[in-house]
Symmetry: C2
């Protein structure tokens, strides 16, 4: 049957999302979910939306969310387009801007899905390596034919590092195509690029409610861009891409900024503790602006460490990037989860050092 499939798709291996834990109790620190429940306003809003009925189509424009988000973010509502998670947003942006055979630019190492989106679209991509300190090189701003879209995760995954606002502005000024700043983790960072969209219409900013609003299960994200681009994205998105419950829940979530600040404070406190614990265990830890930390080790191979953590019901993300190297990306959990992970790591690393395992 694969004879019927586009060659671009048939050769793809497909994006593999972070593994789901097998049955049993796991400390899950592998997909950057928030360890705390969302704002209580969310469940109330969902219950009300269920009550007012599910038999009608939802608002295709997510007006309630856009009005609330516009207030919170200080951007006009018609600069916002909502999606079924920010993956939907990345798909919509790619499909709108990049034709078959055209070029996307991606940083490396970064979010692997960008490559998958290029593949599905039948587009080409070039991966520009970060420098040794996770900074951008001049290569990233180079103008080349057919370059239609540049992705930049900021904070980046897996590193948790950021490119400065000044560099983003300069990058956008040099590029001849739009730049999507993927701010999935920006609520955990010291700065963000939201207000730069108004300074250069080539800059677009995407956000998700999965991480900082603890709503990965609800699927809601959005992009902020110049309204002339938003109008084009609207042609490409599914008419009713966000369901009535997601719209209601997301609107309530972004409306509760007190919850966000409190959650952020807790996550950042644990992040600092966690980085310290990992350094004490001999890991090199990038200073993180996200809700995870990137840990490399000067001496120890990390795949066996990941495997032993998993065998002991602690899931972290093991990454091995060709031409770059390996590391563990560990999500910021609760203090208890982080302690459990660190205690286990201590045992695993000592075991290995004494050759007893």
């Amino acid at each position: 049957m694969t004879d019927y499939v586009r060659p671009d798709i048939a050769v793809m291996s497909g994006y593999v999302p972070g593994e789901q834990p097998p049955p049993g109790k796991y400390v899950k620190l592998n997909t950057n979910e928030n360890p705390y429940p969302p704002s209580p306003a969310v469940s109330r809003a969902i219950a009300e939306a269920v009550q007012s009925g599910l038999s009608r189509y939802p608002d295709p424009l997510c007006t309630a969310f856009r009005l609330r988000a516009a207030d919170v973010l200080g951007v006009p509502p018609d600069w916002i387009l909502c999606g079924n998670g920010s993956d939907d947003i990345l798909t919509i942006v790619t499909r709108t801007l990049v034709g078959q055979g055209e070029l996307l630019r991606l940083p490396y190492p970064s979010y692997v899905l960008y490559r998958t989106l290029a593949d599905i679209q039948g587009a080409r991509y070039e991966q520009v390596h970060f420098d040794a300190h996770w900074g951008l090189t001049a290569e990233f701003a180079r103008v080349v034919p057919d370059l239609k879209l540049v992705f930049l995760a900021n904070p980046n995954s897996p590193s948790g590092t950021m490119v400065s606002r000044e560099q983003i502005l300069e990058l956008a000024a040099r590029l001849h195509c739009p730049l999507l700043v993927d701010e999935a983790y920006a609520d955990f960072a010291d700065t963000n690029c939201m207000d730069l969209v108004a300074q250069n219409p080539k800059i677009m900013v995407s956000r998700t409610l999965s991480k900082s609003y603890a709503l990965a299960g609800l699927r809601f994200g959005f992009v902020v861009a110049h309204p002339s681009l938003i109008a084009e994205f609207a042609k490409v998105k599914d008419s009713y891409n966000c369901d009535a419950l997601a719209i209601a829940g997301a609107t309530a979530a972004i409306g509760d900024q007190a919850w966000l600040l409190d959650n952020r404070r807790r996550v950042l406190a644990t992040r600092a503790r966690m980085a310290q614990l990992m350094r004490e265990l001999g890991f090199a830890v990038e200073p993180s602006q996200a809700n995870f930390i990137w840990c490399t080790h000067p001496e120890r191979p990390l795949q066996p460490v990941y495997e032993k953590l998993k065998a002991n019901h602690v899931l972290v993300r093991y990454m091995n990037y060709p031409e770059w190297g390996e590391g563990l990306r560990i999500s910021v959990g609760t203090d208890e989860q982080v302690d459990a992970c660190a205690t286990l790591l201590k045992v695993i690393l000592n075991d290995g050092a004494h050759g007893t395992n």
Copy 2:
């Protein structure tokens, strides 16, 4: 900014979903929503899903739904792929099978979104006209170069008519590419093609929970196809395209077949009354296998009729198909809604006949 956009997208006008009613109380018979609330099991399942938490990513494979649906439909679970509404399914299938510049075949008149999906993909489409009785012509089965996918809404919209199972089998046997039988309305019909998927792997069947399960607000659809095609579709869909609440609600809905049968019985009873009322008003009404009826009029132009209905807070769908003709597609509402619509139509048609408006 539109210089940055793919030319295929820039020239598109974009799909326009059925209009949302302006503020105020409306009888809404324009987008084929179910006039009754969904199974009570749905809200219970959603409340439980909210309770068990929204901070984790949902199951990317919608396993709970697929197991339940497999039981109900008599197909193996790995023949099912779930989507964020059946529009998501139509998008996934198109992106998997049809490359830029390649060809889709669509019946005409039918669901306008098929054309939009082709446009977004940068593909070409050919519209093959139904015969005068909404039957397929030999042209629809013709083998031509680059034809990669054939869409067939069955029951069709706006007509509510069906192509027989025998014709579908014969069509699939002749075609050199997959055939998507879009069964959005099949739960209201006397037959369907679900079991034909196992007879010819070129046949795929899509379904939605929007209409027959009264869950348009929840966004949930699925496709049943040969597992080798399902595996390719899985590469193209967003990893987490269905949210946790939609999965829970949809699983509960398809599990309540007693509700479905009862709802179907009510809708079909009203559909019969409604067709009779419309015929008494002088309309020609196609015998419908869906939850709407297609009404044409031998003498009266219908756009003014639609406008007057709307001015009186009754929304129906006015369609005018070039090279075919116009009509009103009216969703089956409650008996009260249908009576209100018919009473108003009687006044409108009489007014016009006496030239008093």
